[in-house]
Symmetry: D3
Subunit: 122 residues, 6 copies
């Protein structure tokens, strides 16, 4: 799981670089503000990543779920917090989101098994 | 604004009662768990209402935006926190969410002008 | 309610005529097949209207809900059948569909109160 | 096809168990009512599965299409009925649903070729 | 129609100003790039407004349809071109987009009746 | 990439044939008008394919992106024009469309590397 996550992150980074290289200005600016929007402000980075996770789940984008699940763990979210956020997604978005919950759960369990957020940074 | 919000809340309550009266069990249970999902747990009620607000905005439902904007204010969210949450919605959901941001902003300013749920800012 | 429904149907008919008058062929053909798709075949017209109602509810289009709710009643669907179909919509589509359920319920109750398409319940 | 379907069902079951084990109450309740909503009532289980299939197709979730296509076959739906339901999905949801129709058709033909859930057509 | 369009544009402008006044940087930047993305480049402004119109129609946002329909007319699009673009929207997005086509048609006919951006047809 | 694209086109053609063989009339007619809608009229085929590409991207369907990206190249669209169309998609649809932009970019670069539309079929 972690390796495939690393594979995902590498593919994602290469894909974004391919887009940014020679992209017109509005696209470049979009990527910049997409990055900035999750910086800590009135809301913590953890809360913002949870917001991104819920938005990604109800809009049903597994790549985006992966990105924000990892971001939330990096920012200190616990398994319980992530699961409650996914629970909100399920209630708002209905059973059509269930395949994405299964995806998120498997990813989360894989990440926590190899050290996860508790081991993060040690 | 507050009056139309009260009108909305009254209409919403009457509509929900009409549904629940004689509804089959799965519908009744859905309404019950929809209520419970926002209770404080690992995440605070404020954070959960912000999650509900972002989900509502990217899925573009003004009634749901109204409900969770008010819920977040009731749970202690500040104007700055709400605006950052709406900013995440805009970045994830794109310009198609802008009409809902205009709606949320007008509602928020109306609520805060009359004292808001807890006399915010006075 | 019935009067506003008649208003809706008149507006809808005028709007469709405006589109069809002078529309390019693909649009005309789309309208024709949209009509034909709900004719009885292996599935009855009632079942097809219920399918249209559920699709309209999870995609959250009140005009379409109105059209198919009325079509299903015309084809003999009962209040109980319609409510179970809306229950499926709620479970698949989540709480974001609730405002459309409130809309459908109010419309349904209005239609049945005045006798409905076939004096349901009298 | 049937084997990959069995693979899908096994993965789906394992994924749901992983979610339910230790999930907060609202999630557990959602799964319970999601199951109950398709039980026969005013509408037959077959009709409810067809409603679930159309909702899944217009919302474009292949896992959900798989689940309800199989459920509808189990409940006695014929190929002709399933195809008419998918036709409604296409008309309501447009060409963006076509890839999911191709998916459903291939799955359906595979299921019927090996005898289907109940040796359909023999 | 034209007057209500002017009302819409005024409300829209006021709403956007309310958002931009004191908004965090990512929101301000989003509004700036949203404006810039429709400037002429490899594609003409007319083509870009038609792209915006189709995106708005399949995502079913009447405010956005209004904005891009007017933008396309301002950039020189003819009634025939607009109708073909809406035809593509209908085919891709299905019958769920029909209410938005009715909306767009009425708006378009109102705009052209009063002279429109270039006195079309007189 | 070209080979996997050929694989995609072959699978797509086989899938469509499977659907059309014995499909009820509304489905057959839908496929016919879906084809006709992109023929040159008031708008060129290139513009119509770009409209289809943007609709496909904001509705987030990679198969549809593949189909219209190739169609636009066949109709003479340049890399710059395609990228500007994808930029409109990103602004309207938000960061949730980014994985589809990565997909489109990789496909586009693969197609142009092997000669692109000009070399196609020679």
């Amino acid at each position: 799981m972690t390796e495939s996550l690393q594979g995902f992150e590498a593919r994602r980074a290469r894909g974004n670089e391919a887009i940014l290289e020679g992209a017109p200005l509005p696209i470049k600016r979009f990527f910049a503000l997409d990055h900035d929007a999750y910086e800590a402000g009135a809301l913590s980075r953890k809360t913002k990543e949870l917001l991104g996770l819920v938005a990604s789940t109800v809009l049903r984008c597994d790549d985006c779920v992966t990105h924000h699940l990892r971001g939330a763990l990096d920012a200190g979210a616990t398994r319980e917090e992530l699961i409650e956020a996914l629970g909100i997604s399920l209630v708002v978005g209905g059973s059509i989101t269930v395949p994405h919950l299964r995806f998120a759960w498997e990813l989360l369990d894989g990440l926590l098994r190899v050290g996860g957020p508790e081991d993060e940074g040690t």
